[in-house]
């Protein structure tokens, strides 16, 4: 019994890394411009299709796909902010702009249906060593693909943390999120900084996609389920909090993994969203929701 729980916890924690990455992207955009990006999951889907086609057409291992997808997705995110979000944001005076939120929802629908049109709705998978390889550690089994996705999360969180706390651009991204007027007075061009924030948040999806593609199906709607979990995570960990996103991701993975032992997956999902609603009632700022006024 104990072995079973530990095994479930282990698998859950490892997949939780991916959830954490998506929540991280969501939080980066929310933390800077108070916009919940409903297209975050869809941008993950875009990254997954890129990694998938790179593998099918050129044989590039998905783990090397970030070399292409991260710059490409950064450019895509930068352009989305520049051409779609900024013009809308400029017209909105509210602190949490509703029209931008709805626009991202529309964008998600457009991209999803575009993918459906271009690539059809069948589940696409790749076969690489990490697809089915496992490590046996005593009584426990560790999926190699899941393990590397966890490592990718740790690496990305560390890199982002260093970027946000040690570089001028990173500090400027936080500054604009905390007080836009003061940031302007100190010489920061908030619009350009928003472009970078959205670009980076999208680029992170390239890493999540690379980690997922070897052991997960690629499908136009794959982003939606991840996005819903990312919402639970940011509410759990705190909107705008980077460590909250990472830890929240692990917590959600853990809950899923352990509860999944006794019940079917659907029940685990119901419980997860029950936690979500309970959090909204009792601790709306999240467990680590600090960076919020």
């Amino acid at each position: 019994m104990t072995e079973l729980v530990i095994q479930g916890a282990l698998s859950g924690l490892l997949i939780g890394g991916i959830y954490g990455l998506i929540a991280l992207g969501l939080n980066l955009v929310f933390g800077t411009m108070r916009v919940v990006n409903f297209a975050q999951g869809t941008l993950l889907m875009v990254g997954m299709f890129m990694a998938y086609w790179l593998f099918v057409l050129t044989g590039l291992h998905p783990y090397l796909s970030p070399l292409v997808t991260v710059p490409a997705l950064f450019a895509l995110g930068y352009a989305l902010q520049y051409f779609l979000v900024t013009p809308l944001l400029a017209r909105e005076r509210a602190r949490e702009p509703m029209s931008v939120l709805l626009m991202t929802l529309g964008l998600a629908l457009v991209l999803e249906n575009l993918a459906l049109m271009l690539f059809r709705g069948d589940y696409k998978t790749v076969q690489v060593r990490e697809t089915s390889a496992v490590w046996i550690l005593g009584d426990y089994i560790v999926s190699v693909g899941r393990f590397w996705s966890f490592v990718a999360m740790l690496g990305t969180v560390t890199a982002l943390w260093l970027f946000l706390s040690r570089t001028d651009l990173g500090r400027a991204i936080r500054a604009v999120g905390q007080d836009r007027q003061v940031a302007r007075l100190l010489g920061m061009n908030d619009r350009v900084i928003y472009n970078y924030a959205f670009g980076i948040s999208t680029a992170v999806m390239g890493i999540a996609a690379a980690a997922l593609v070897p052991f997960y199906y690629t499908h136009p709607a794959v982003g939606t389920s991840f996005l819903l979990k990312a919402f639970v995570i940011v509410v759990l960990g705190g909107l705008g909090s980077m460590p909250g996103a990472a830890l929240g991701g692990l917590a959600v993975g853990l809950i899923e993994g352990v509860i999944g032992i006794w019940t079917e997956a659907a029940v685990a999902q119901i419980l997860l969203f029950a936690v979500f609603i309970a959090m909204l009632f009792f601790r709306p700022a999240g467990l680590l929701g600090l960076e919020r006024k």
Binding site: D179, L186, G187
Partner: protein, 246 residues
């Protein structure tokens, strides 16, 4: 060029600000000369903050704002004004609350031309406010009001401005801290060559610190003159009857 421009660093001509239908500032003209400390006084809602916000471009305005005798600042976005030499400390300090004191200060020298001098600038402001060195790694929102004001001024000085605007720098401070901040303003003006424009509700203290003053009443300029003239002017006491009790 600038020296022949009659020593004026800033000139404001017929500045008008509307918030919807409400006239917050109406045809205000004033000037600040190189090396001066100038004070804008007035009751709550008289337009003091609006004036400073219009000068730094945070609110839209009609009329002229000229800096260093050069072209108008109208149309220059706020984020390009610090590189011209204009810094502005907003009311209630407005530190980045979830950053450390050090991070706040470093962001004061965010502009690329300032970065190479950043270590020296940090040394200078920490010499001016020794307590900031001890507080370096503390989160800004955990500081006392007086310490926050020190960080806010220090952060603005990191940008090496020629002209510094302070919006209610003494608001909510202890009497001892008011004296301390006043002394710092004198020091940066005298030794640092920084021209200062600040606003304040309390007349007595402001005029003790400044060379000249302007008094706003309901968005219009009511009085102006040197501090000595203003203190002797009976109209000042009429305008301020009951307002300067604190």
């Amino acid at each position: 060029m600038t020296s022949t421009w009659e020593g004026r660093l800033l000139s404001v001509e017929n500045l008008t600000v509307r918030y919807g239908g409400y006239l917050a500032l109406s045809e205000v003209s004033l000037e600040v000369r190189e090396g001066e400390i100038v004070c804008v006084m007035g009751a709550n809602g008289s337009g003091k903050s609006t004036l400073l916000n219009a000068i730094s471009g945070l609110v839209e305005s009609e009329g002229e704002v000229r800096f260093e005798g050069r072209r108008s600042l109208q149309g220059v976005p706020t984020h390009e004004r610090l590189s011209l030499g204009l810094a502005h400390v907003l009311e209630r300090r407005r530190l980045f609350p979830y950053m450390t004191v050090l991070e706040n200060l470093l962001l004061g020298a965010y502009l690329p031309p300032l970065r190479s001098e950043r270590a020296r600038a940090l040394e200078r402001v920490e010499a001016l406010f020794p307590v900031l060195r001890e507080r370096r790694h503390q989160l800004a929102h955990s500081l006392s009001g007086g310490e926050q004001q020190q960080v806010a001024i220090a952060r603005a000085l990191m940008g090496r401005p020629r002209f510094l605007m302070l919006d209610e720098p003494f608001l909510g401070l202890s009497p001892r801290m008011v004296l301390e901040i006043s002394e710092v303003i004198r020091t940066i003006n005298r030794d640092g060559g920084v021209t200062v424009l600040f606003n304040e509700q309390s007349v007595q203290h402001s005029l003790g610190l400044s060379d000249r003053g302007y008094i706003l009443e309901s968005g219009r300029l009511a009085l102006s003159g040197t501090s000595g003239e203003l203190l002797a002017d009976p109209r000042l006491h009429r305008i301020y009857m009951g307002l300067d009790a604190a």
